[in-house]
Point group: C2
């Protein structure tokens, strides 16, 4: 794979594009012309865990970019539909890898073209300082698995390419056990943080008083586990243990949905909690707590519209 | 009843004190010396549905005020304990009427003295513009019922006194059906508003999509009704109908708990939702949605501590 395109140059897209430029010819498909121009003219600076300036091509239309063998769709879940629209009819031979939170991103892409698909979840994180500057904060892995039209071998090739560029990546024959662990964790931690204003801190694991937040967190996780079990997906990690471990880290993580509500931006509720609730309804599993979180977050979005 | 004292001169306390001064000798027991001095020197102005300047006495200690026959404790639920402490040992012959949201205010007062007690719920509302100026907004009633050591006749005498002063008031032989209707309504509307940022608007009655807020509101109300039924309290009004009616008003009401969280003030969660949840636990009625709201609001309070 010599040519890679990254659609969406936010934190995750920028980290992929910059690192991959060291082992492949990389282009970025951006939403704003100003962003594409800045990337073409100034390059893309990475600081933090790495420190280098990447030279990449960039444009707002697939017509202006060379056809890639790998297309990483790295926009937020809320922009996925419009990104897929712009890709429709282009680059039919590319493998398209989605990295959105939640589940169902591949299904959205699949409606717009017959591309072969890979699915992934990423645990890396960073901070966007400018259109042309991203700070690489958490060097945790991206996990990749086959989806429509691809094989475990395809997932391995892409994981090897990404690992060779300096990022952590691992291929799985079946990504669902990892994806569902993260889905349940995210549906819980993101919504609780967004509604309470708390970063992911010790309150999330507190079980001393009946009114403590840990009981809600555990209740949400238990509902999610019941949905995964009904879907026949064994979980790779116990989301409650992920929660307890994460709250013991030195500095509390600031979940993206909390950032979204503070900035009065539309959240990813539909592809995270919404996806879990839809699966639960399809399988007949009661999820009153996740329904509650979905309704509260959607009402919160309505409050600033 | 010729002498009345009002403890706590917020919106509700100020409305009582000002109006009652037209038919009785009224004093106000305030928390801040500055507030008492301003009331003594400038009087208390009412605007809105009434327009007059009331002359009242005011102090921060019961020792500086004449002994009243009626003491209306009108502070917020969060200040109730400290108000009761300051009253301990004073005015043993007075009838003490509580007007706090939720249930259990009388039980707090009872721990500090052997006063005869009346209980009440008020639906009037206003806006506090200054220590000495309150705007009378909603001229809805205060409902009064007997509690420890009082009779329905005592409730009627106080209701008549208040009605003669220009406010709406009604006496009940048993206030619990009205009190529980308001408790369930408040536990629902206040917490949902505080978590979403929405005033009490049409979203609260929306039942078009499964993710609509009305389903959560109805679920919370249904849990509350089950607790009332288990407690043997027939409801005076259906809280869901109260909700639907209120959302059809021209201007959406801004619930006090939403004001509290926006100002990063401690909320009345303990005496509203907390009281309902404790009753539910005592009676063995499951209330997972109210427990969720209580945990989220308490975590929200923790986020600014």
């Amino acid at each position: 794979m010599r040519r890679v395109c990254v659609a969406g140059a936010g934190v995750i897209g920028s980290l992929f594009a910059a690192h991959l430029s060291r082992v492949a010819e990389v282009s970025a498909l951006t939403r704003r012309e100003e962003h594409a121009r800045a990337l073409r003219e100034q390059g893309l600076r990475v600081t933090g865990r790495a420190d280098f300036l990447a030279r990449i091509d960039a444009a707002t239309s697939p017509l202006e970019l060379p056809e890639p063998e790998l297309l990483i769709v790295a926009c937020k879940g809320t922009d996925l539909e419009s990104a897929a629209e712009r890709l429709e009819g282009h680059w039919p031979d590319a493998i398209v890898m989605t990295v959105q939170n939640g589940i169902g991103a591949g299904d959205v892409i699949a409606r717009y073209g017959a591309w072969r698909l890979l699915t992934s979840v990423t645990f890396m994180s960073g901070t966007r300082h400018a259109d042309t500057h991203v700070e690489y904060v958490l060097d945790t892995a991206t996990w990749i698995g086959p989806a429509r039209g691809t094989t475990p071998e395809d997932a391995r090739r892409v994981a090897e390419l990404i690992a060779s560029s300096g990022l952590e990546a691992e291929a799985f024959d079946d990504l669902r056990p990892a994806q569902w662990s993260k889905l349940i964790f995210n549906a819980t931690v993101n919504t609780v943080a967004a509604l309470t204003g708390l970063p992911h801190d010790a309150h999330f694991a507190a079980l001393a008083e009946p009114s403590d937040l840990g009981f809600l967190v555990r209740g949400l996780i238990d509902e999610g586990k019941a949905v995964a079990a009904a879907a026949g997906v064994p979980l790779r990690e116990d989301p409650w243990e992920m929660n307890v471990l994460a709250t013991k880290r030195g500095s509390a993580h600031y979940p993206s949905m909390l950032e979204d509500v503070e900035a009065h931006r539309r959240t990813e509720i539909d592809t995270i909690t919404g996806a879990l609730v839809r699966e639960a309804h399809r399988l007949g599993v009661p999820v009153p707590l996740h329904e509650t979180m979905e309704r509260l977050i959607k009402a919160k979005e309505a409050s600033w519209q």
